[in-house]
């Protein structure tokens, strides 16, 4: 076979013909990028196993892995309280925001809302507002509501702050919903609510579950709001706890790395378990 024929027989993916040698380089490049992504975490893992108080070098498996460091970090960072607090905040934020965003997204996409364009525009503008712009007035507003220091102090603003994205996401989904189904349901005498609940809500499940995961992550990883609005470190989120932990145990590298890994673990776990649906939903939902 001539070389040309061989080349022509090579698989066509994405319009580019791949030849064997190319493929190896590409895989190597991809592996390098993956290493870049994962090695920092691996490095922290090996450091977490080093003896406390030592200065472990970057990436080296210690002679005697100190698994006990994780237990020590757990108590030192008061992780039980922090996890509990974060879960409470997530429970406060995510269901409410998802519910309201779904309703609003459906309304804006499927129903004719008076002033809908203006409302949607205002919401979209909120997507680019940096949290730092709002933190000062939020502090005083929450204080005048008497909620400062309670977890509601973070839950309520976060609902507002996450709402633009939620509405955008759900509207993007509902815009593509089958209007024919709506009309069919209405001719059958169903009210708007019934149409929504029986027809469109079940179809929206993938988008809703992806949104819940995104909101979970955004809330769990929230740092600035709890830092400012909640004085008691035990009532903040885990991200806030990590900041304080670092300030206090800065030299104890092993303990710090163990604590950081423990704090990262739930987000990682949630992501790994749901990653298939999650990534797929992003791919489907993000671009319209």
């Amino acid at each position: 076979m001539t070389q040309l024929a061989t080349a022509l027989k090579a698989p066509v993916i994405g319009g580019r013909r791949i030849v064997r040698g190319d493929r190896i380089t590409r895989t190597v490049l991809l592996v390098l990028l993956m290493l870049f992504a994962i090695v920092p975490l691996l490095s922290m893992f090996t450091a977490a196993l080093a003896p406390q108080g030592s200065n472990p070098p970057g990436l080296s498996w210690p002679a005697h892995p100190h698994w006990g460091n994780f237990a020590d970090a757990w108590t030192a960072a008061n992780l039980l309280a922090l996890f509990r607090s974060s879960v409470l905040i997530v429970l406060g934020v995510v269901p409410a925001t998802v519910a309201m965003a779904t309703a609003a997204g459906y309304g804006l996409a499927q129903l004719r809302v008076p002033g809908g364009k203006i409302i949607y525009g205002l919401l979209l503008a909120g997507l680019t507002i940096p949290y730092e712009s709002l933190i000062t007035p939020l502090y005083y507003d929450i204080q005048s509501l008497g909620l400062l220091g309670s977890r509601l102090a973070v839950v309520l603003p976060l609902i507002g702050l996450l709402m633009p994205f939620g509405v955008f996401w759900m509207r993007a989904h509902f815009v593509n919903a089958e209007t024919a189904l709506t009309e069919a349901g209405q001719l059958d005498g169903a009210s708007t609510w019934q149409v929504f609940r029986r027809i469109h809500l079940p179809l929206a499940k993938p988008a809703i579950s992806a949104l819940m995961i995104l909101f979970f992550l955004a809330t769990w990883n929230q740092y600035l709001l709890p830092l400012v609005l909640i004085g008691d470190p035990a009532k903040r989120t885990v991200a806030g706890g990590l900041g304080a932990f670092q300030g206090q145990y800065g030299t104890n590298t092993a303990l710090l790395c163990a604590g950081a890994l423990l704090i990262i673990a739930p987000s990682l776990l949630v992501f790994l378990v749901f990653q298939r649906n999650f990534v797929k939903a992003i791919l489907q939902g993000a671009i319209r």
């Binding site: 200065n55 949607y120 997507l127 995104l214 955004a218 990883n221 830092l227 004085g231 304080a244």
Partner: protein, 457 residues
């Protein structure tokens, strides 16, 4: 994960609507901010001071920074042992968070009875602290050497310190000086602490030629400002100028030839390689760890590091005050009270004052301050000096403090001159200075400019 933010399409009309809405909001709230939330704190005019703790069960809430918890827990236990009806509850936040949140904690609803104050800022102007003068009279603090209270007196304008109402006291004083690694010091031929600045610089040169790290210091969070201030006071011949500046007295000016000379010397030391190349990324938790593991001959720092260093190796580390310019000159050092204040909204003011009296006078409490906190209590002249193991860093710092008290060499830190001068000005400017990126005269001028704008606003 940060949420995905996107804003497809329809730009103009919606920004216009956004602007309309916000303008409407602005118009609605046309009155000045804070008018509705004006502080209802009681006026800080002194009320009758009681020295009685009473008999009813009381919980005293103390808010400190996290590293101080062991000390204050011990002090609380000792206080409870004396007054059984008082339970002391110690809560803490990490230091930076405490500093940022203090004004709001004190003006909020759940106010502790005693709070650790790093700097007074606007706390007195906003009437958030209790004036302790009545209690000073009731407990007899006004008969003690008064220089120990200078740094916690705030004037009527809320800014000037050094004179005025007493708003804070502390279990003891932080004190700065220079630790030295005894073994490494012997190697460079140092038999006793240097008596003059010139001797010290000679030792630095010897350390450098011996291949050792002459000065180990935390450049990331302000350790380098200590030798700067020490040098400044040496060249000025007296701490008066700095003290006036620290206390925000009118006409205070730090842009002097002494400051410029100090900056030049510090920069010279950096050029000679007396600091480590990575000095700007060493912070105050890493520096003592590095020093304890044998890096560096000299470690300018404070007595609060002493317990930790003694734990790492008792007898291995010594301490001396920064040497004066001339032989036999006055020793000076920066000291600061580990200030505790009583919020104006505290529930148990009298009990809090009793606690403050206790920690300054009770022998057990004074011992705890030295051994757990590494700070030296002042108090009355006849109070016992807590003992510490001979040859330990702690005992060296205690001895140094007595020396200072006698020579009246207590000076406050430049970093405490205004609430933000350290983080915004002194720290970055000193880093620039050490890196050779600013000149000594520009350095001094910039510090004075920022100081004036901090006070003016």
């Amino acid at each position: 994960m940060q949420i995905i933010r996107m804003r497809p399409g329809s730009g103009r009309r919606n920004t216009l609507s956004a602007i309309t809405i916000t303008a409407a909001a602005l118009a609605l709230t046309a009155c000045a901010p804070g008018a509705a939330t004006s502080s209802s704190a009681p006026a800080s005019s002194p009320t009758a001071a009681s020295t009685s703790v009473g008999t009813a069960p009381v919980t005293l809430n103390i808010l400190v920074s996290t590293p101080d918890v062991p000390l204050f827990s011990a002090l609380g236990k000792a206080f409870h042992a004396k007054y059984g009806n008082v339970t002391v509850n110690v809560t803490s936040q990490d230091f930076n968070t405490l500093v940022t949140n203090t004004p709001h904690i004190l003006s909020g609803s759940d106010v502790p009875d005693i709070v650790r104050i790093a700097s007074f800022g606007n706390l007195v102007t906003d009437q958030l602290l209790t004036n302790l003068d009545p209690y000073a009279a009731a407990y007899g603090w006004d008969k003690w050497p008064q220089s120990q209270f200078a740094s916690t007196r705030v004037g009527a304008d809320g800014k000037q310190r050094g004179a005025g109402g007493l708003y804070g006291v502390g279990p003891g004083f932080g004190l700065t000086g220079i630790y030295y690694n005894k073994a490494l010091a012997r190697r460079i031929g140092m038999t006793e602490p240097p008596a003059t600045l010139a001797e010290f610089e000679q030792l630095l040169g010897k350390a450098k030629s011996a291949g050792l790290l002459p000065i180990l210091i935390n450049g990331e969070d302000g350790g380098t400002v200590y030798p700067l201030q020490n040098l400044q006071m040496d060249y000025a011949g007296s701490p008066q100028a700095v003290q006036t500046w620290n206390y925000d007295m009118p006409g205070a000016d730090i842009d002097t030839s002494a400051t410029i000379k100090a900056a030049a010397t510090l920069q010279q030391w950096s050029k000679e390689g007396y600091f480590s190349p990575g000095v700007n990324s060493v912070d105050q938790t890493q520096a003592p760890a590095d020093f304890a593991s044998g890096q560096g001959v000299f470690f300018p720092s404070g007595n609060w590091q002493a317990p930790g260093l003694d734990k790492a190796g008792n007898g291995k580390f010594g301490f001396f005050l920064f040497p004066p310019l001339q032989q036999g000159g006055k020793f000076t050092a920066m000291t600061a009270a580990d200030t505790l204040a009583v919020p104006a909204k505290a529930k148990h003011v009298a009990v809090a004052a009793a606690f403050l009296n206790f920690i300054q006078t009770d022998p057990t409490a004074r011992n705890d301050a030295v051994l757990l906190g590494g700070i030296v209590p002042a108090g009355p002249t006849d109070a016992a000096v807590p003992p510490a193991p001979a040859g330990s860093a702690v005992s060296a710092t205690v001895a140094a403090f007595r020396q200072l008290l006698e020579s009246n060499g207590l000076v406050d830190f430049m970093a405490n001159a205004t609430a933000s001068i350290e983080v915004n000005t002194l720290l970055p400017q000193t880093q620039l200075l050490l890196a050779g990126k600013t000149s000594p005269s520009a350095f001094a001028a910039k510090i004075q400019t920022d100081y004036e704008s901090d006070l003016g606003t």
